[in-house]
């Protein structure tokens, strides 16, 4: 078979089962594609030995007829996941040289499902960023370009490496994590599918924490069906994560019936924001029309507290991050600054953290420290928590009215140029998350589906937001939208 790396998970799985190819062949094709794609800077730690070893083991299992759900399928793992014996440093200098002695629950679940890890993927440092430009490895690059313009574009962030790698067919799929949109925004920027499940669906154990109450892992794939397959493999109840659910994991793929007749799809009026490009508005209404044609009912809804979501998010996430990142102190692992004669523990902390953390991480640690400080706690952190409760209630009210899913744009623009935001106010970058953060604050599942190209030839995504724990229904509606949109474009290979 030709171009094995371009297969979807579902097709590769079926081909493996039929004996049309082997995991070794699939894996070799991906490794070759990865080696040819250094210009994308998507993979930051390649693990070909591990990949080949697991591929051979998978082929043996396939031969025995004992193939679990993702047996032999080559994937990439975001650098935020701790993978045993393999560098896992959240794209940060402070975790220089860190190789964990443990495997995150999600990546272990994928190993147990037979998946083959090709390597670790680029990302924004500690998942803080929307352009992949805060990575210590330098940014990943979007395989898409604006027509014939050679200017490098961002793959989005923080899961930029994952998005770039899947869009460029370097792997069949990848893991991502999403704290405020870090799966859905890069998926939209690169024309792929990305789902953030309900908070608690995927164990956070072994995933380097950014903001614990918001972080969730999810798959980034070429199709909705692939997202269903891989999400099921990633999810589990985990006694090691107190916030993980006890609910059983459904067979998501089996729920993809394609039938969405009678489903009620809400269009939230507060997501019409001044300055949103016309093309985004258009793809949004096109998406609504497609769902309607497929038999769904389209209703206008109100999520009145939406405008407070972004400020609340940028209080809560940095607050948790400032505490979560306190452990990177140079005492036990990772980077430690060289000290001068007479330097004490305070100097060790200050120098280590100043050298090890990039600017954006330092900014957020400082914001987080500030909003938790005595005298400011109520004005910022507590207030943000109250806003969060109201945002959650907005969604509960909508679902209580019978809405099955909510359709919104995934991003306020298509992929922008790398370096374009360098001089901008950081808040401009934060605005990238405007459509996605509400979902994290409310703990809901959200999926980004590629819906079309803009005038410059760049992908645009639509977001569907589902009811808690109802990823199955959400994926089914997303599959219908995917089918109607018929997005098949691929970036022209320039790398």
């Amino acid at each position: 078979m030709a171009d094995l790396n371009k297969l979807t998970l579902a097709d590769a799985r079926d081909a493996l089962k039929k004996g049309e190819t082997t995991s070794v062949e699939l894996t070799e094709a991906c490794l070759k594609a990865i080696d040819a794609a250094d210009a994308l800077n998507a993979f930051v730690h390649k693990t070909p030995e591990i990949a080949m070893e697991r591929a051979r083991a998978a082929d043996a299992r396939l031969a025995e007829g004992d193939a679990p759900a993702m047996c032999g399928l080559p994937i990439g793992i975001k650098d935020l996941f701790c993978t045993r014996g393999v560098p896992s440093q959240a794209a940060s200098g402070i975790l220089e040289g860190f190789r964990p002695e443990y495997e995150s629950t999600v990546s272990q679940n994928l190993i147990d499902a037979g998946a083959v890890m090709l390597g670790k993927l680029n990302m924004d440092e500690f998942a803080m960023g929307s352009s992949n430009e805060t990575s210590v490895y330098g940014n990943a690059v979007n395989p898409w370009r604006r027509g014939n313009d050679e200017a490098a574009l961002t793959p989005g962030g923080s899961s930029g490496g994952s998005a770039s790698a899947v869009a460029a067919d370097l792997c069949l799929a990848a893991t991502g994590t999403d704290t405020g949109g870090s799966i859905r925004q890069p998926a939209a920027f690169t024309g792929i599918v990305g789902i953030k499940p309900t908070y608690g669906r995927c164990s956070r154990w072994g995933i380097i924490a950014f903001a614990s109450s918001l972080d969730q892992a999810g798959p980034m794939t070429k199709t909705v069906r692939d997202a269903a397959i891989m999400l099921e493999a990633m999810c589990s109840s985990d006694a090691k994560d107190s916030t993980s659910t006890d609910l059983p994991v459904p067979n998501f793929e089996a729920l993809l019936t394609g039938d969405i007749r009678g489903k009620k799809i809400g269009i939230p009026r507060e997501y019409r924001i001044d300055g949103t490009p016309e093309e985004i508005e258009k793809i949004w209404s096109d998406g609504a029309a497609m769902l309607k044609d497929a038999g769904a009912e389209i209703v206008d809804i109100s999520l009145p507290h939406t405008k407070y979501a972004l400020p609340a998010y940028y209080v809560i996430a940095p607050a948790e991050a400032s505490s979560n990142l306190a452990r990177y102190d140079g005492v036990r692992y990772g980077h430690r600054a060289k000290l001068a004669q007479g330097d004490g523990i305070t100097e060790m902390y200050e120098k280590t953290r100043a050298e090890g953390f990039g600017d954006e991480v330092q900014r957020r640690v400082m914001i987080g420290t500030y909003v938790l400080s005595a005298g400011f706690y109520d004005a910022y952190y507590n207030r943000a928590r109250k806003v969060r409760t109201l945002i959650k209630k907005d969604f509960e009210d909508a679902f209580a009215q019978g809405v099955d899913a909510i359709l919104t744009p995934a991003t306020p623009s298509s992929a922008f140029g790398l370096g374009e935001m360098a001089e901008a106010d950081p808040v401009q970058m934060y605005l990238n998350d405007v459509f996605t953060v509400t979902v994290n604050l409310a703990g809901l599942p959200g999926i980004s589906v590629p819906a079309g190209l803009d005038k410059q030839g760049l992908p645009l995504g639509l977001q569907l937001i589902g009811k808690p724990w109802d990823e199955g229904d959400l994926l089914n509606i997303a599959a219908s939208l995917e089918k109607s949109a018929g997005f098949v474009a691929k970036p022209a290979q320039w790398w």
Binding site: S242, T243, R327, L372
Partner: protein, 504 residues
């Protein structure tokens, strides 16, 4: 059971140059939960292990590691709360207390600031028979202990031992109801006693398993009563907190020193600064550790890694039903059921094991005699024998009860009983069998005693005359008869016969 009522003890005053001053003391006691594993990890809590050997990934704050609550520690906190007659909060929550220190790997301690697991309770602190201070407990919360920084192993480097990191502590916070150094020590003693009865903390102060932060302020007589009426702290003086005390003696010394220091400042026209202080036992003084301005801003916030802790009333009820009899009840029962004095009952209930031993002896013999024998003879003998504890006693409750029963039956005299006790202590054996075998039995056969009395009287006519003139001297004859019978004659019978034969 006796219903004991107590009077409040007299408040200790310290004379300043100008006034008499009263002390107001509140304590935060950190009690290490007796559990095999840590509060949020499966690592062992065993004391004295190789440095950094009892450390789970989460204790070392490795990236991506998450805490999971140890249910047994929660149970121990609930048990403690119930033992202190406190309200149990069915919903509580964990917060992060953020600060940087190398022995705090996470950069925060997981504690319970906003919603502690245990609410208000009380401890009755006895200061003498019928006199006790009721100290209110404000709250008990669960939190993680920190590790240990070692600064004296190397001239240039510091070392960190994380074995203690994450071990479960209960912080027991009192109201400022303690009114002097002696009361403070008595409060700790009583708290420790209750914890040991409950089995929730071993109370080992030397190992640091029970330590106290002591808040001390001074006020003029009358001010405290105003605080009590209003619960308004402005009636009280500015407090200083003396950190991390783990000796009763030092706690008393530190309070005394601190009170005098504050009195000198205030009487000299100065103001006491609210600050954290450390006690230096070598110099016998407290010194400033950090002022209010330098105080850490701990940036407490709810720990997002942990869901609120929800427990069920039925579970709390089960724990309540399994509580042992606590010191106050036990003491009252000992006084009521066995007729013990306040003092004896206090001594016997100080340690749970002692009380149980006593009770076994008492139930096999007589309560009052059992109390005397346990307190005076057994405790005294164990102390002489290398300060042994009751669990190491070579004499069992049944053996001691046997000895007491032999006295009561009149088989042996009190004096012989002491010899018998020593034999049983040193050699073991059944007391009544020993008495038989070694001929230690008391002679109650009046015929035999009468013969002995007659013999002594016949042999000492001069003494007879003297005794008839002065009956107090009759005792001499009793002594002679006892001697002649090898101490085995029943002294009461001898006495009676001597008096009769002398015609007294």
């Amino acid at each position: 059971m006796l219903d004991l009522t107590y009077e409040a003890p007299k408040v200790k005053t310290i004379a300043g140059a100008k006034h008499d001053w009263e002390l107001v003391i509140g304590m935060e006691v950190h009690a290490q939960v007796s559990s095999n594993a840590k509060l949020f990890s499966g690592a062992s809590t065993k004391f004295g292990a190789e440095p950094n050997s009892n450390v789970a990934f989460v204790d070392a704050a490795m990236p991506g590691m998450l805490p999971v609550i140890n249910e047994f520690c929660v149970e121990q906190a609930v048990r403690t709360g119930l033992g202190l007659k406190a309200g149990i909060n069915l919903t509580s929550a964990f917060d992060r207390k953020n600060y940087f220190y190398p022995d705090l790997p996470q950069g925060y301690q997981i504690s319970q600031l906003y919603h502690p697991i245990v609410g208000e309770g009380e401890v009755l602190v006895e200061m003498g028979p019928g006199v006790a201070r009721k100290v209110r407990i404000e709250r008990i919360h669960l939190e993680q202990d920190a590790g240990k920084s070692i600064h004296d192993m190397d001239p240039h480097m510091s070392f960190v031992d994380l074995n203690r990191t994450g071990v479960a502590l209960m912080e027991i916070v009192s109201r400022p109801d303690i009114r002097g150094p002696e009361e403070a020590a008595a409060y700790i003693t009583k708290l420790r006693q209750i914890l040991r009865y409950l089995g929730t903390c071993d109370g080992n102060m030397q190992n640091g398993n029970l330590r106290a932060d002591v808040n001390v302020s001074i006020c003029l007589p009358g001010a405290y009563e105003k605080y009590q009426e209003t619960q308004d702290f402005s009636h009280l003086g500015t407090r200083c907190e003396i950190k991390n005390m783990n000796s009763m003696r030092f706690i008393q010394q530190a309070i005394e020193y601190e009170a005098r220091r504050q009195i000198a400042i205030v009487e000299g026209g100065g103001k006491v600064d609210q600050e954290t202080r450390l006690y230096d036992p070598d110099k016998g003084e407290t010194r400033s550790m950090r002022s209010k301005e330098e105080a850490h801003d701990y940036r407490y916030f709810p720990d997002p890694d942990l869901l609120p802790l929800e427990i069920e009333q039925a579970w709390v009820d089960d724990i309540a039903a399994s509580l042992p009899e606590l010191p106050d009840q036990k003491k009252a029962r000992f006084m009521g059921d066995y007729g013990l004095s306040d003092y004896d009952a206090s001594v016997l209930t100080a340690e749970h094991e002692n009380a149980a031993f006593f009770e076994d002896v008492a139930n096999a013999s007589d309560g009052k005699l059992a109390a005397n024998w346990v307190i005076n003879d057994l405790f005294g003998r164990l102390k002489k024998d290398g300060d042994k504890g009751i669990s190491e006693s070579p004499v069992s409750p049944a053996q001691l009860g046997g000895i007491i029963n032999l006295i009561q039956k009149g088989d042996i005299s009190g004096k012989i009983a002491k010899d018998l006790f020593e034999i049983v202590y040193a050699e073991g054996g059944d007391p009544s069998q020993i008495v038989e075998e070694r001929g230690m039995k008391q002679v109650t056969d009046t015929g035999a005693i009468e013969a002995a009395v007659d013999e002594v009287i016949a042999a000492n006519p001069a003494q007879v005359e003297k005794a008839q003139a002065n009956p107090k001297l009759a005792g001499w004859f009793v002594g002679q008869v006892m001697k002649a019978t090898g101490g085995k004659a029943n002294p009461a019978a001898v006495n009676e016969l001597v008096m009769k034969k002398l015609g007294l």
